[in-house]
């Protein structure tokens, strides 16, 4: 073998170092520090690139203007007020959406109350199940169209809407369809009864999935529904209204009305509504709870979070890094249970940070409709501004910051995957929910220390534990004050599993057997 070859094969070939990230940053962030000898660097800017693969939008059917879905038909609002829904990746208008005023809300609630009293509570439970199964199957049939619309309207990558949002939405209908005629077994020894009309207000981060979470258990238990999607992402809920029509659900059983906070407050305060189910911010949750005080309305609130994701030194580090990425960058970080506070045991801090930064470099940020995209567009301008504000706060507080060096499109709302370290429990970016692709990293030394820090928050929705020791998982899960604890994984959802928060993360549980109870009296 020639000497030339030997040089290469001994691993002494010149290593390509990537261009500094600083040249690609818009904001001022510090470069990763190296002590003394230069660290070996992996260059992920490869000569070989993936082929762009945008999902076709030619097959989707969207109207230019969407009316309110009341009593089984689409009707114009009494006052002709409409607002635009835009594609956050392009800033282009997609459609006009009707805004429901007071008289429209009254109509929807009346339709729901009549349908509950005269139709839905009268038909056999097994018939209710049939409708739910039918809706689930139509969602599956139209899954491709729903995924594309979800991505266009909300900015989430098609990979997620196609593989997670839409299949899970169908799964929720399938699951609760199964319960409809078995409620006596869900509450042994008692005769469960529906509450009546459920007013349901859902957020913009998982538009169709949240609609499914709300509608499926309500219908299975014999209630009827007035549902309001978030104003920036109404389209898939309105497509669901079309599916409900196609499934021939009796008129008035599900009413879907659109609008912003004002419409929501009309629903919450309507006297003929028996239950409120809300998913959204803690601020709005508090307003709702205040207005419900002193009424007979039951309620469930699924609110904000600031989950601790805890990496122990004995964890499988490469898989834990995947879990960190999945925990905070899934759906651009617009996830109430996102693992936004990372705690890393001090002995593995350098290792984890290095791997995390390298992993961030391989995330594909861009066109949400492209099948390669890992991170799509920020849902709205307002949300983008909020995340940007928190980034500035983090820098001002003295946090060290690293952002992926990826380029982002010039149009639309984008935010590069971002990680802050050198932050503490006192930092605002550690305390407050950012709801974007921004991770904070703190270190810890002992189990007791990390439990104390993880619980030191007004929230308590979820948490993650990464360790190879089963005993440690059980100990931690018992001590963390959060509704969902994931062990060696993160952001896994299943209709059979209850979901909900401690403290300011909410009241009540959705999903599983537990998810039936807030819709029943006995």
């Amino acid at each position: 073998m020639s000497k030339k070859n030997k040089l290469i094969l001994n691993g002494k070939k010149k290593i390509n170092r990537p261009k500094t990230n600083a040249s690609l940053q818009k904001t001022s962030v510090s470069l990763p520090k190296t002590k003394g000898k230069q660290k070996p660097v992996i260059n992920f800017k490869t000569d070989w690139q993936y082929a762009s693969a945008p999902e076709s939008i030619s097959h989707i059917q969207l109207k230019k203007r969407y009316e309110l879905f009341i009593n089984g038909t689409f009707v114009a609002p009494d006052k002709p007020v409409y607002f635009d829904t835009i594609n956050p990746a392009t800033e282009q208008k997609i459609a006009e959406i009707a805004e429901a005023g007071e008289s429209d809300v009254n109509k929807a609630v009346k339709a729901a109350a009549d349908a509950q009293k005269y139709v839905w509570s009268k038909i056999p439970a097994s018939e209710r199940a049939k409708y739910l199964f039918r809706i689930a199957r139509i969602i599956q049939e139209k899954s491709r169209e729903l995924a594309v619309i979800e991505t266009m309207d909300g900015g989430k990558p098609i990979r997620e809407s196609r593989d997670i949002d839409i299949p899970l939405a169908a799964a929720h209908f399938f699951y609760y369809a199964g319960w409809a005629d078995k409620l006596n077994y869900a509450v042994p020894g008692k005769t469960p009864q529906p509450l009546g009309v459920a007013g349901q207000i859902i957020p913009w981060n998982f538009p169709l999935l949240m609609a499914a979470w709300k509608i499926a258990p309500a219908l299975a238990t014999g209630n009827t529904v007035v549902l309001k999607p978030a104003e920036t992402t109404s389209l898939t809920a309105l497509k669901l209204a079309e599916i409900i029509q196609e499934a021939d659900l009796p008129p008035g059983v599900v009413n879907i009305i659109t609008g912003a906070g004002k419409t929501g407050s009309l629903i919450v305060n309507h006297p003929d509504i028996n239950k409120i189910a809300f998913t959204g911010s803690t601020d709005v949750g508090k307003i709702i709870q205040r207005s419900l005080a002193g009424t007979a309305k039951k309620y469930t609130l699924e609110l904000g979070g600031k989950a601790a994701n805890i990496i122990f030194e004995d964890a499988s580090i490469d898989q834990a890094v995947e879990g960190i990425v999945n925990g905070i960058f899934f759906n651009q970080g617009h996830v109430c249970c996102a693992g936004s506070r990372l705690f890393v045991q001090e002995s593995v801090f350098d290792k984890v940070m290095r791997k995390l930064k390298d992993r961030m470099e391989t995330l594909v940020v861009g066109d949400p409709l492209d099948k390669n995209t890992d991170i799509g567009a920020i849902n709205s301008k307002a949300q983008w501004e909020k995340i940007t504000k928190y980034q500035a706060i983090g820098l001002k507080e003295g946090g060290e910051c690293y952002q992926s060096s990826c380029s982002v499109p010039s149009q639309g709302y984008w935010f590069r995957p971002t990680v802050f370290w050198n932050v503490s429990q006192a930092s605002r970016i550690v305390q407050e929910e950012i709801f974007g692709p921004v991770l904070t990293v703190q270190t810890f030394r002992t189990v007791a220390e990390v439990v104390e820090k993880a619980n030191n928050t007004p929230y308590g929705l979820s948490g993650g534990i990464w360790t190879d020791k089963g005993s440690k998982i059980f100990k931690m899960a018992g001590e963390l004050r959060a509704g969902v604890i994931w062990a060696n994984t993160f952001n896994k959802f299943d209709p059979t599993s209850p979901f909900g928060g401690y403290k300011e993360s909410g009241v009540g549980r959705e999903g599983g057997l537990h998810g039936l109870m807030p819709y029943l009296k006995y």
């Binding site: 070996p40 993936y50 490469d318 099948k371 390669n372």
Partner: protein, 297 residues
């Protein structure tokens, strides 16, 4: 060095989920052509049968240098992989084409022999002109926890290789767990491997994507620690172009640009070559050629 099995825990579910993500990347048109050519250039065209003859070895050498006459700029493969007694024939047939000769050694495929014989086997192959030696580790001793024995054996073979470049075959299909595979990778790299390789091709399962990911991550940790680049060779069971491209995606996202090269990544395969060529032709013309147009060697 004291090796411990639990030093680098590997989570099986996590590894397999990560692999599923690699498989969803889009590779088509120009991206596909580029990847197929890269994959061809990374092939270790292999014949390791008891019935191998000089004629058969010359045939695969011809294919290695010019994989297909049907198209312009199809690169030569990286190496031809044979038993030690065919090294000389292969070396002569390949001449100055730049295609390397790799030889299995060390009582391939079981490795069940004495160190003395293994070293003899290695020196013989090197003296015959092998550029690369593909050795097997002693899996039995490894599974007994005799990690130092495995280390010493690799180090001794490395010394016997001299200038030749050492690939260490872990035979992952016999190692039972990802954690064992990870530990065996670490031992091999520490003991002087230039490449780590999954399988002999004689045991099922041979190379898989999750196993290769575990090994690539071990290579990455070694690089972080030492700055040295170790190569990776999945071998056995990779027969389709689509699978080969999935491996390249994994390399791209785990180790980046520097490893997307025949110097640091190889495919140990024989039937894969024709599928790569057929897909390359399909990209160029839009049609699948009959298999009769591709040489079976």
């Amino acid at each position: 060095m004291k090796y411990q099995l639990d030093k680098h825990p590997i989570d099986q579910v996590g590894v397999e989920e990560r692999v599923a993500r690699f498989n969803s990347r889009s590779i088509k048109k120009q991206s596909k052509v580029q990847a197929i050519k890269l994959a061809i250039s990374m092939l270790d065209l292999t014949t390791l049968e008891g019935k191998d003859s000089a004629g058969k070895v010359r045939q695969i050498c011809a294919k290695a240098v010019r994989p297909w006459e049907g198209m312009e700029d199809v690169p030569s493969v990286a190496a031809v992989c044979v038993y030690p007694n065919h090294v000389k024939t292969a070396k002569r047939a390949l001449g100055d084409s730049g295609v390397k000769v790799a030889s299995v050694a060390t009582a391939f495929p079981s490795g069940n022999s004495t160190l003395k014989i293994k070293l003899e086997d290695t020196r013989f192959a090197v003296n015959e002109g092998a550029d690369e030696i593909d050795m097997v580790i002693s899996r039995g001793r490894f599974l007994c926890g005799e990690y130092d024995f495995v280390f010493d054996e690799i180090a001794a073979v490395k010394e016997a290789c001299g200038e030749a470049h050492l690939k260490v075959i872990l035979e992952t299909g016999e190692l039972d767990s990802y954690q064992n595979i990870r530990l065996a990778s670490d031992i091999a790299m520490d003991a002087g491997a230039d490449f780590i390789k999954t399988s002999t091709g004689k045991i099922e399962p041979a190379a898989t994507l999750p196993v290769t990911l575990v090994m690539l991550e071990a290579i990455r940790d070694y690089f972080y620690r030492t700055g040295k680049m170790i190569g990776m060779k999945p071998a056995g069971g990779i027969r389709k172009e689509k699978e080969a491209l999935q491996y390249l995606v994994m390399v791209k996202e785990t180790l980046g640009e520097a490893w997307l090269s025949p110097h640091y990544f190889r495919f140990g395969a024989s039937t894969l070559a024709n599928d790569l060529l057929m897909q390359l032709q399909k990209e160029a013309t839009g049609y699948y050629q009959s298999l009769d147009y591709f040489s079976i060697d």
